[in-house]
Symmetry: C2
């Protein structure tokens, strides 16, 4: 019984993640979550107060997922630029968009401080970690001393988020890859 | 009479531009356009077949506006990097988002080939013009020969579009400015 309840809670969160990614917050109804997860209304309201609490759990998991993947790449082998390249070049579901970044286009998510917080914190964390790496690269003499780690890190995160936008405009993931290569090319000119 | 008709058509297009920027395509009803423009239903359907034709005119004007501003900056005085800096640093209504880029998050706009086309073409034009400028900078010895003009141009356009995303996540335009400075720092070559 307990296992079944954990399983239902899990399915509710995962279904909400999928629906948020596909349809956004406004387009995700409690009914759609119940249908996708196979959990009944009673089960949903047993585990969560409502759609907003479920969305918070789903967004939190998206954020954890983004951090865990990035951290594994940042902690990998190779030089700083190589590790950043592994992170930027990782295969992504480009035309579906970033599960975290996409939420910024959802007025209801941005208007709710609890839902916006994990989005803001995730980009803050990501930019901070990249800045640490870039600083490490400067200290090791791998990157030019003139590089501003925080500003450069912000630009790199922006390239990914903007790459999603351009790919959607073009209806093709190629332009995302091109933006990434452009950013890495610029970073390479800063290598000592 | 003729002047009045032109004026009404103009007001209909400008009202649609404002509403698309504020609320997106789905959130822009024919009724809201009529109310904002002060034009009646008869007048709206005299000038346009419906919301989609009006949106096409509005999106076309957003695209023309983006091109005209960028072209004036690209054709200005100064070195290539200086002109790109003027373009990237121009004051923008960052938290409202890019009137063109924002449309990529509008499923109904992306699903309609006629409405998506001007969005795709605008980014294609912008990337192409920036690539031309970067190539000019390479030829003049201002920029490193190793720089790939097309990929670098794509990265620069992505920085702006991603800057809007990060600014919305942070609820502040500061991060947009930081991304721009990061990109310009990367573009600044080591002393030749």
């Amino acid at each position: 019984m307990y296992g079944d309840s954990v399983d239902k809670r899990e399915r509710l969160i995962e279904s909400t993640r999928e629906l948020l990614w596909e349809r956004g917050y406004v387009g995700t109804s409690p009914k759609a979550i119940q249908e996708r997860s196979g959990a009944g209304q009673g089960s949903m309201y047993h585990h969560f107060q409502g759609k907003s609490e479920l969305a918070l759990a789903a967004i939190g998991r998206n954020a954890d997922d983004l951090r865990a993947k990035a951290e594994a790449e940042f902690a990998g082998p190779g030089s700083v630029v190589e590790r950043i390249a592994v992170y930027l070049r990782r295969e992504r579901d480009v035309l579906k968009g970033c599960p975290v970044g996409k939420l910024t286009q959802d007025p209801d998510v941005m208007a709710d401080p609890d839902l916006r917080r994990p989005v803001e914190e995730t980009f803050g964390w990501l930019t901070g970690r990249l800045a640490e790496l870039l600083d490490e690269g400067r200290a090791a003499g791998e990157l030019d001393r003139s590089l501003d780690p925080a500003a450069t890190a912000t630009a790199l995160v922006a390239v990914l988020q903007g790459g999603y936008v351009l790919a959607r405009a073009a209806g093709s993931p190629d332009v995302f890859a091109k933006a990434v290569e452009g950013a890495l090319g610029l970073l390479a000119t800063k290598e000592n």
